[in-house]
C-alpha cells in the first residue's frame, strides 16, 4: 500500500511489497540508492540487491545476464546515467535480445534541480523510445507509479520508467484499472486536447482551468505510456478537436511530442509541442524556478493552446 506522495519512495516500496512473494525480483544500483530509493529493497532483501558501484555500463549488461537466468532485474540510477551512460549496453545486451530488464531512470527531467545540466535528463525518452522492443513509461503521480511498477513485473520485456524526484499532487484515481499502454482522460473538453506526461499532467490540468475561464474547453489526457503509444486512443481523443497540444518535461525533439506528431501525421489537425526546447538544464534552488524558466507551467500550456487555436 502506498504511504506517500513521493513517486520514488512509492517505487521503492512497491518493489519491496512485490519482492516478498516474487523471489525473482532483483535490484541493481550504481550508488544512488538513497535517491532512487532502491535502498528500501536493499534493507529487506540484501541477497537480491546488487550494489554495482558507479559503473552503469556494467550494471546494464549484468542485468541482462541476470534476466537470462529468469530473474526480473530492476536497474537503478539517475535517468541521465541509466539511459545515456549505458545506452549501448541497453541497446546491445538488453533490447536486441528483448530481455526482461526493467530500467529505472530516477530524478528524471529537471527534477534534480540543484545538480544542474549534467544531472537533468532532457533526452532519456528519445534515447529509450528509439530502441525496438523497449517500453517507455512516465508516471505522473505516486498512485500511477505503484500500478505501473506492478505492471512492469507482470509484463515481460525491456522497460524504462522515468521517475520525478519531487513529490507531485495525486491526480489519478486509485480505483481505476491500469495496464501498460493505457492513456487516461483527466479532464474532458471539446475545443482542444492536451496530451501530457509526467509532471506536465498536473500543469495541463491547471491550464484547463485557466482556459475554462476564457471559454476554451480543453481536454487533458495523461499519456503515461509513451511507447508503445496507443495510437487508436490518441486518434479518438483528438477526433473533432480544433487543435492538439503535447506537454512534456523533455527536449521537444524525440519525446512525447514527436511521437504524437508521428501518430497523427495523417490527421488534418494543428499540433503544438511544449517541452524544454532544444537545450540543456541548469541549476536552481528549487524545482518551480526551473519549470518557470523552461516554460513548463500551466500558463505556458495555456499559451500553446491559444496558439494552436489561432491556426487557420
Amino acid at each position: 500500500m502506498r504511504t506517500t506522495d513521493s513517486l520514488r519512495t512509492t517505487y521503492g516500496e512497491t518493489l519491496v511489497e512485490l519482492g516478498k512473494d516474487n523471489k525473482d525480483i532483483v535490484l541493481l544500483e550504481a550508488d544512488l540508492g538513497n535517491s532512487t530509493m532502491s535502498k528500501l529493497f536493499a534493507a529487506e532483501y540484501p541477497d537480491r540487491y546488487f550494489q554495482m558501484g558507479i559503473a552503469e555500463q556494467n550494471m546494464a549488461s549484468v542485468s541482462a545476464g541476470l534476466s537470462l537466468t529468469g530473474k526480473v532485474p530492476f536497474m537503478n540510477s539517475f535517468a541521465v546515467f541509466a539511459s545515456g551512460r549505458a545506452y549501448d549496453q541497453i541497446r546491445s545486451s538488453i533490447t536486441i535480445a528483448n530481455l526482461n530488464v526493467k530500467i529505472c531512470g530516477s530524478s528524471a527531467g529537471l527534477s534534480d534541480y540543484g545538480d544542474g545540466k549534467t544531472h537533468q535528463s532532457i533526452d532519456d525518452i528519445a534515447l529509450m523510445q528509439v530502441l525496438p522492443h523497449m517500453t517507455v513509461l512516465s508516471p505522473c503521480d505516486a498512485v500511477e507509479t505503484e500500478k505501473m511498477v506492478k505492471a512492469m513485473v507482470e509484463q515481460k520485456g525491456p522497460m524504462y520508467i522515468r521517475i520525478n524526484r519531487n513529490d507531485l499532487p495525486i491526480v489519478t484515481n486509485p480505483d481505476e484499472e491500469y495496464h501498460i499502454g493505457k492513456m487516461t482522460q483527466m479532464v474532458d473538453g471539446k475545443d482542444v486536447v492536451i496530451f501530457a506526461t509526467g509532471v506536465m499532467v498536473q500543469q495541463s490540468m491547471e491550464a484547463a482551468k485557466i482556459l475554462g475561464k476564457e471559454g476554451i474547453s480543453a481536454r487533458v489526457v495523461n499519456v503515461s505510456t509513451i511507447k508503445p503509444l496507443d495510437t487508436k486512443a490518441l486518434e479518438a481523443y483528438a477526433e473533432g478537436m480544433k487543435g492538439v497540444v503535447t506537454a512534456e518535461e523533455h527536449n521537444v525533439i524525440g519525446g512525447l511530442g514527436s511521437a504524437v506528431c508521428s501518430a497523427l501525421s495523417k490527421k488534418r489537425v494543428p499540433i503544438e509541442i511544449l517541452g524544454v526546447g532544444d537545450r540543456f538544464g541548469t541549476s536552481a534552488e528549487n524545482y518551480s524556478i526551473l519549470l518557470k524558466h523552461y516554460g513548463l507551467e500551466a500558463e505556458d500550456v495555456a499559451k500553446k493552446v491559444r496558439s494552436v487555436l489561432a491556426y487557420k
Binding site: 555500463q57 549488461s61 537470462l68 537466468t69
Partner: protein, 282 residues
C-alpha cells in the same frame, strides 16, 4: 591432473573438426573472421566436448554450463562447435551470414540454438556472464559460466568494470578466457594499443590467473579444471594463442581478422586440415 592420451587425441581431433567447420562456412570469396576463430578453436573444443556440461538434446537445459563469446565476431568457432552438438543442421554452415540462415554475423540468441546472449558490441560479454553467474548462484546452481574475450577487446573500459565487479562478488562460478593472440583488427596489439602487464593487472583486480599455451590440449584441460576447482573468486585463463592458427598464410596476420580466402589459400587450408588429422591420428 593426468589426462589420458585417448581423451587428448579425441579433443585434438575435435579441434581439427572445428577448424574444418570454420572453413566450410567461409569458402573462397566469402568474408569471415578466420583469424580470431581459429586462434581459440582448441580451447573451444575442450570446453564444448569435455569440460562443459551440455545437453545434446536440449540447448536450453537449465542444468547446462554457459559459454558467452564476448568477442562475438569470432562466433564462427562457436557455430563450428554447436553444429557438432547437433543444435542445427550442417547445411546451415554454408548459409552463415545470409538472409535465410540461422547463423548471424554476430551471436544472436533468438536465431541460433546454443547461443546464450547477444554479443558483438565489444566489452559487454563478461558483464553479461557475471549476471548469469550471479543468477545461477541465487538459484544455488552448480553450473559454471565461461566467457571468451579478445585481447584487443580488453581496451574496452567496461571489461574492467566487470573484472572489478566479479571480484567484489567473488564469482567463482565464472571463468574468463583471454584469446591472447596479439593481433587485432588492423594490426598487432603492440602497435595499435599495447596494454602492458596484463597478467599482473588481472591479479591486481583480485582474479585467479592461469597462463597457458592456448594450443596445448593438456594445458587447456588443466587450466579449465583448475579454474573450476578454485572457489575463492573468478579465474581468468590467459591463453597464448596464434591468430589464424593452423593456416600458415593467415597465422599472426591482421589481414585475416576478417577476410576472404583465395581459391589457392582455401586449398592450402584444407590440406592443413588433412595433414593435422594424419599427424594426430598417427
Amino acid at each position: 591432473m593426468n589426462y589420458s592420451q585417448e581423451l587428448v587425441k579425441e579433443l585434438q581431433l575435435k579441434a581439427i573438426q572445428v577448424r574444418a567447420n570454420i572453413l566450410e562456412m567461409i569458402p573462397p570469396g566469402k568474408v569471415g573472421h578466420l583469424g580470431g576463430s581459429s586462434s581459440i578453436a582448441d580451447v573451444m573444443a575442450a570446453l564444448y566436448f569435455h569440460t562443459m556440461k551440455v545437453n545434446k538434446d536440449d540447448p536450453k537445459d537449465p542444468a547446462r554450463d554457459r559459454l558467452i563469446m564476448s568477442k562475438g565476431h569470432a562466433v564462427l568457432v562457436q557455430y563450428a562447435c554447436l553444429v557438432e552438438l547437433g543444435y542445427f543442421d550442417r547445411s546451415e554452415l554454408g548459409k552463415v551470414k545470409t538472409f535465410k540462415g540461422l547463423l548471424q554475423g554476430h551471436p544472436d540468441m533468438d536465431k541460433t540454438p546454443g547461443i546464450e546472449a547477444v554479443t558483438g558490441s565489444l566489452g559487454q560479454g563478461l558483464s553479461v556472464s557475471l549476471g548469469v553467474a550471479l543468477g545461477l548462484t541465487l538459484d544455488k546452481s552448480e553450473n559454471h559460466v565461461y566467457t571468451i574475450l579478445g585481447d584487443g577487446e580488453l581496451a574496452e573500459g567496461q571489461v574492467w568494470e566487470a573484472v572489478m565487479a566479479s571480484s567484489v562478488y567473488k564469482a567463482s562460478n565464472l571463468t574468463a578466457i583471454v584469446d591472447w593472440n596479439g593481433v587485432q583488427a588492423t594490426s598487432t596489439t603492440a602497435e595499435i594499443f599495447p596494454i602492458e602487464n596484463l597478467v599482473e593487472k588481472w591479479k591486481a583486480f583480485g582474479w585467479n590467473v592461469i597462463e597457458i599455451d592456448g594450443h596445448d590440449m593438456v594445458q587447456i584441460l588443466g587450466a579449465l579444471d583448475a579454474a573450476k576447482a578454485y572457489k575463492e573468486g573468478p579465474t581468468v585463463i590467459m591463453a597464448h594463442t596464434v591468430k589464424g592458427k593452423c593456416f600458415p598464410f593467415a597465422e599472426g596476420k591482421a589481414k585475416y581478422h576478417n577476410a576472404a580466402m583465395s581459391e589457392e589459400e582455401y586449398k592450402i587450408a584444407w590440406q592443413c586440415i588433412a595433414d593435422m588429422r594424419k599427424e594426430v591420428e598417427a
